[in-house]
Homo-oligomer: 235 residues x 2
């Protein structure tokens, strides 16, 4: 069985968050002259994750909080309203598949049961899944609040799938690769040109067993096939 | 199989939203002298549901938007920050089971497979499920983005359960009762003393077939048993 991550693996996501953050820094920059606005925002986002979880709405609430703190409450209500507007724009963004994704997913689906495993806001992720045009190819679509060994263990049990027969494809070492390797599964890492600081907080050796790294989605089918051959040889 | 709703069926929820809204009206009331602040907030919340979905974070973002609009952007950043604080307080509130709920759930679980079906924010609902002390009794816990006939139909298929063998217990006619009755299932309505305007938007006759109404959780086991006898007689 093969799992696909969604944000920044199937479709563009971090680019939009990145643009929203740049706009946030521009807004706040009209009040203060600081070069660590981004770092201050991230500190607040990180502290709020245990309450807000992942996703656009939590990001926007953290931005309101950060903007008030950073400007010592001098920020105008219209500018805070603009931050809510950034969230609305993000939530309405059309789904844009990354190059080669459609062909890669179709190719893998011909040979394996495929599932979609994504974390974040239930409502927003469901919308993107509906809009992406690939939903029908996946046997299961799992939207979870965190992607750690506990989550993957529970899902594999539900799928009735052994870890050694499971391969996860994604852009985040922290969420897609490290926990699956730790359980004894396989990984195909597809790095994305932008990665949220939070998702870089994992160490996985490039030559870790059962891990392959590909440059973009076009490399996925061959990497999956090679991993499947290796897994069959080990079985 | 018996499904339980969660918010305002198992545990207190709307009371906290109601208190947050009262605080919102108090904050905004220091800027404007209007008697329809609550109605204006609800109009914005309702318009935003298709983007934000249900839950505390969407409510808070709608509150920021409403506060800016209602005060014509005269509201101070500290007061908008206070609205984010309301969301944080709501998200941290301990789970408080309603009277008789623990005994009712345990009693129904002795005779039936029970499942929990709740809508809203994945992260917050998971936290409440973890904290409620009843999670182990449920065969499945389903957090969904909307509770309509489409959602219940999909879940019943996943549960491999016929609608005529499914009974849903909840406080919302709109989300818990009407769609299940429409599919041919059974309902036990447990009205709650407070209901969000959105959840009252459904018409179900009090004498509808396959529906029972109980005063509080203590009435649930007998109502479920009576429905099961009636269902068995019809089968």
């Amino acid at each position: 069985m093969v799992g696909f991550d969604a944000d920044d693996t199937l479709w563009r996501s971090e680019d939009y968050f990145h643009a929203a953050q740049a706009e946030f820094e521009r807004i706040v920059g009209t009040y203060v002259d600081l070069d660590d606005v981004g770092a201050r925002l991230y500190a607040i986002e990180k502290a709020n994750i245990e309450l807000f979880g992942y996703g656009v709405k939590g990001m926007a609430l953290s931005m309101v909080e950060a903007a008030v703190q950073i400007t010592d409450a001098r920020i105008h209500a219209r500018d805070l309203h603009r931050i809510v507007g950034l969230a609305k724009e993000l939530l309405q963004h059309p789904v844009e598949l990354l190059p080669g994704v459609r062909e890669a997913v179709e190719a893998v689906a011909r040979d394996f049961d495929i599932v979609l495993i994504t974390k974040g806001d239930l409502f927003h992720q469901e919308k993107k899944v509906r809009d992406c045009g690939l939903a029908g190819l996946f046997r299961r679509i799992e939207i979870v609040s965190e992607k750690d060994t506990g989550t993957y263990g529970r899902l594999l049990e539900e799928f009735d799938c052994q870890a050694r027969e499971f391969l996860m494809i994604g852009n985040s070492l922290r969420s897609d690769i490290a926990p699956v390797l730790a359980l004894g599964g396989w990984g195909v890492h597809v790095p994305y040109h932008l990665t949220w600081a939070h998702e870089t907080e994992a160490e996985v050796a490039a030559d870790a067993p059962r891990l392959r790294v590909v440059e973009d989605a076009r490399g996925i089918p061959a990497a999956v096939a090679a991993a499947a051959r290796e897994a069959a040889a080990l079985a």
